[in-house]
Amino acid sequence: MLILAAILFPIIGGLLAACLPLGKDRDRRCFYGLVMAGSDLVCLLAMVYGQEIQLAALSDRVVLALGFDSFGRFFLAAVMILYTAVCFYSFEYMKMEKRGETFAAFFFISFAAMVSVCAARNLLTMYLSFEMATLSTVPLVLHERTKEAVRAGMKYLFYSVAGALMGLMSLFFVYYFSEGSGTFVPGGFVDPQAVAGREPLFLAMVFVGIVGFGTKAGMFPMHGWLPTAHPIAPAPASSLLSGIIAKAGILAVGRLVYYAVGTDLLRGSWVQYAWMILALLTVLMGSTMAFCEKNLKKRLAYSTVSQLSYMMLGMALLSRQGLEGALIHAMSHSAAKGCLFLAAGAFIYYAGIRQVKDLRGIGRQMPLVVWAFMLAALSLVGIPPMGGYLSKWKICLAALEGAPGLFAWLIPLVLLVSALLTAGYLFPLVIDGFFPGRDFHGEEGYQGGRASLVMTIPMLALCGSALAAGLFGGSIAGLVTGGI
């Protein structure tokens, strides 16, 4: 029941946020804060004490069930951290935007959708929650209601629906090759005997599933929506989309491969090769595009494309260490990229800056924001002790140990080249921000004062969480992958 409550509470809170006539700004913020805190509390309780619950059983194979395992808990923790930080951040940021109520409503509803993605106990439930997450986040992209926003929203919707349908198709076959209600089992539940002799069909369908669910994680070739949709949303929403909602794709693929299909059936097959190639291409492509991009939010979006495929790579290695690397990267990237988008939002909010070149000297005006940006950038590049370093270490080591043939060398090499590009597109911005040079006297050019603490504290908290991912990520991820 607790789990159901954890899903319903934010939905009700969101609906109330849209309907309640809260006139004053302060009342509204109070209410949002309460809903967020309440949701977090219920989620925590559900995580610890939540009993598995069966919502409906249409037949013995079509069952909707919710329940937590360590994998779900891990992702839910990331969801809660980012949503809470963004919620407080948007108190200040959304002053700038119209229709704050709508935003809040979909914010909480999408939170509920993410909780249910994490809590899904079987493939079907996960698919439904996955679609719910897509639908509830489209309005966040549409928020500005400009022509570009509508177009980007539609693109997001079409790509996501197409991807999810591919995923659904693959689910049918996974059910076909197994028995029971598709409840997740570490190591997979597909019956190898049923597959025997029909491997080509089965592998093809698993691949379709990986590409389909990978759409949400921006994996080539279905990445096109991500750099369009993420930057167009208001900063808090971009932060959520890049930080955690795209991770739903990672979660779904992880569930499909590690908890339904099982790694043994895939290891050494063409699916693994194709998956690794797609992920490698995406990593390089995303980093290079980000390096060439001039618009800050768009640059960050391309960076997300690349970083998400680090996780895909980690998972594609089909080893325990690779999965651990992917999980740690999910944790640290969620915090770091969330923080970067929030910082980009602060630049827009206070100085109206969207282009990278205008950021020169910004560090004088909002030092804390640029500090947060820098720490997050360090994590993304993979500088110890920030989180990105540990995940890269694990993924590369897993590649050296387990990847077939040439990939053992190629993967570390590509990741390092990509890290160099990442440094190239993030660090100059920080350096120019803090050290504009002696001849720079542009401070009076910016309007507005220093960034308020309501905005900076969530950012710094996210940096702290990226640091924690680096320090303790190994032991935490070890708990999750224990059964695999």
Partner: protein, 663 residues
């Protein structure tokens, strides 16, 4: 336990100094001084063998495999030298930064964090720990380079950062390979693990290396380049001559005296544990020797050409790093060849030269700092004659110069003689040993020549502008000395080490303590053979000074900058290669990949749906259902007939294929 305190106390203190400095600057200055002095006292505790043993500590469960520390003779001495350098430059900074107060809070924060990180590297017991702290100090020391924010400083800082990031990534790759090949990164276990890799595969097989052995070697090469980037090793030295001159002088002293040694530490520890003693890895030693020789000569030549006081010192650092690398190379080579005695000599020479160079550069860069804080100039023609009437400064610089040139009775002599000796020992293992020996002597001669040039220019010759010379001789006036007693104590005090360490008894004892190689105590530094090497080197130096420097490198009595500006590895090779050769094709390919599916969809829309640009309509009524339906259906209805046609074409195509197949 003490290692944890040594590492984390300065880091925490730095974080505390930042907010404190925003409130009260003089309190912060005092606080920082106390912290660095306390660090020095604490590090001296390591001299006690009981405490040294207790320094071994593992902070498990965090990062990849925890952080582990330990202290042996070498680590102890370097922990102390690190703290000493920080205390010395810290005391000197109090006066140096009297006039320039901007950005000091940031400066002190990063100075202290770097102190902790440097201690972390110097006390690390495994490569992972070294790597973590190495990366931290790479980034924190970046702020020193850019501190002045002049155009050159910003440019140099970008170069520095680029090399630091690249070096860090190469190092990361090296660690990966080594971890995978040897299965461990602990220095203590590494030697055994590598030996195991050789024993397991039946060593001595003529077929070459097995996969694991190859990976260990590849890892060690990557580590060499990764740490070498920070040490200023060719070809990644490009940042060094740019970054050291633009940083504030106390920071230059640290960059040059200690941070380069951090790189050396990594190279030394890795080669002595993973490589040394394996016959099959002899090529690695030759690689180090080659790179070391190039670095040594290139640095010396650059220093000869330079007309900027700090740039000369920076290039000199690069050259001395080359000497140290040669020492490491010889130690590895001799140990791979089974000559443990010669290896011991080389090892002792290496560590002694490291210590000497750290202390010498502390003195020399602080002297340069005195010049900067008085007259804010560094060009040799402008500062010429600055030190004529400043005996204390003159003596300190002279001691440093004598030390670094390897003049007998001063500290550089002993370490250079040991290195020279080790090259002679390796003559049987290396065909090119005579060439190396003469290169070594030549570079030593260059050292003498450029130090002579600096000394004569700043402290003996008169400035060509008599008014300027008068103002230099007068000093800042109003009874103020050109430096206060605290700075004088630091500079002169540190220069006395040149004399103390010039005593073979002291030096050899120190080397024995650091390396554990007791036979070094019976080394005869002043034997005729050894003196000969030094004399040859000094003679070459005197010749170089009298002929090329005085004749070719001076125009009309001025020091001329004759080094062609275009001859810059970074501008000439690295940047074009990276941006034109690598990045351009990559970005084109990425652009094609990135838009491929979108283009396909667009193509489909233009052909199958024949979508046309509609006249601008109000699109902000998105949730109006009628509008949406219309928008969605319009292109389909409008082009229904076209779609039918396309369908027919499709059927025809399928039919054709079927016919073809059935044929």
């Amino acid at each position: 336990m003490i290692s944890i305190i040594l590492v984390f106390m300065p880091i925490l203190a730095g974080l505390a100094a930042w907010p404190a400095g925003r409130k009260n600057e003089s309190f912060r200055d005092g606080f920082v001084t106390v912290v660095s002095l306390a660090e020095l006292l604490l590090s001296l505790l390591l001299l006690d063998s009981g405490i040294r043993a207790s320094a071994a500590f593992k902070l498990g469960g965090i990062l990849a495999g925890g952080l582990s520390f330990e202290a042996d003779g070498f680590r102890t001495v370097y922990a102390i030298i690190t703290a000493f350098m920080w205390a010395g430059t810290g005391l000197f900074s109090l006066e140096y930064f009297k006039q320039e107060r901007e950005g000091l809070n940031r400066y002190w924060l990063f100075i202290l964090v770097t102190l902790g990180a440097t201690e972390g590297v110097m006390l690390s017991a495994d490569l992972m720990t070294s790597f973590v702290f190495f990366e931290i100090l790479s980034f924190t020391s970046f702020t020193w380079v850019i501190h002045e924010e002049t155009e050159e400083a910003v440019k140099a800082a970008y170069t520095y950062l680029f090399v630091a990031v690249t070096g860090g990534l190469i190092l990361f790759m090296g660690l990966l390979l080594l971890q995978h090949g040897a299965g461990t990164l602990r220095f203590d276990d590494l030697h055994e693990a590598v030996a195991l890799a050789f024993r397991a595969s039946g060593s001595g097989s003529p077929a070459g290396l097995t996969a694991a052995q190859g990976q260990i070697l590849a890892g060690a090469v990557c580590i060499l380049f990764g740490f070498g980037a920070k040490a200023g090793m060719f070809p990644l030295h490009i940042w060094l001559p740019k970054a050291h001159p633009v940083a504030p002088s106390p920071a230059s002293a640290l960059l040059s005296g200690i941070l380069t040694k951090v790189g050396i530490y990594g190279i030394l520890m890795t080669s002595l544990t993973a490589i040394a003693g394996q016959e099959a890895y002899r090529g690695f030693a030759v690689l180090i020797l080659l790179l070391g020789a190039v670095t040594m000569v290139l640095g010396a030549v650059l220093a000869l050409f330079s007309v900027n006081l700090k740039r000369t010192l920076a290039c000199s650092s690069m050259s001395q790093i080359g000497f140290i690398l040669i020492g490491i190379g010889m130690a590895v080579l001799l140990s791979c060849g089974g000559e443990e005695e010669g290896a011991g000599l080389a090892y002792a020479g290496t560590v002694l030269h490291m210590v000497n160079h750290s202390l010498i550069k502390l003195t020399l860069f602080c002297v340069a700092g005195v010049v900067v804080m008085n007259i804010h100039r560094l060009n040799l023609n402008e500062i010429r004659g600055f030190g004529r009437k400043k005996p204390l400064l003159k003596a300190a610089f002279a001691l440093g110069g004598l030390g670094i040139s390897g003049v007998p009775l001063f500290n550089g002599y002993i370490s250079k003689t040991l290195l020279h000796e080790s090259i002679l020992e390796g003559a049987g293992l290396l065909k090119l040993a005579p060439v190396l020996e003469w290169t070594f002597l030549l570079a030593g001669g260059c050292t003498f020549a450029y130090m002579l040039k600096l000394f004569l220019c700043v402290f003996v010759e008169e400035n060509r502008d008599p008014d300027l010379q008068k103002s230099y001789d007068r000093g800042p006036g109003q009874g103020r000395p050109y430096m206060n007693s605290c700075s004088a104590a630091v500079i002169f005090g540190s220069s006395l080490f040149m004399l103390v360490l010039g005593q073979p008894a002291v030096s050899c004892r120190l080397a024995a303590f650091m390396t554990g190689y007791e036979e070094i105590l019976s080394f005869h530094a002043f034997s005729l053979e050894n003196l000969k090497g030094s004399v040859i080197s000094l003679a070459i130096g005197a010749f170089l000074y009298l002929l090329p420097v005085r004749r070719l490198l001076m125009k009309d009595g001025d020091y001329a900058d004759l080094w062609p500006a275009r001859l810059d590895l970074e501008e000439m090779l690295y940047k074009p290669f990276l941006f034109k050769v690598c990045l351009l094709p990559l970005s084109i390919a990425a652009r094609i990949l990135a838009d491929s599916l979108d283009l396909l969809i667009l193509l489909a829309r233009k052909t199958i749906l024949r979508e046309k640009k509609r006249k601008s309509q109000k699109r902000n009524t998105f949730f109006d259902i009628r509008e949406t339906t219309y928008l969605a259906l319009d292109p389909i209805m409008r082009t229904f007939s076209f779609a039918m046609m396309m369908t027919c074409l499709g059927f025809l195509a399928i039919l054709g294929i079927l016919i073809l197949v059935s044929l």
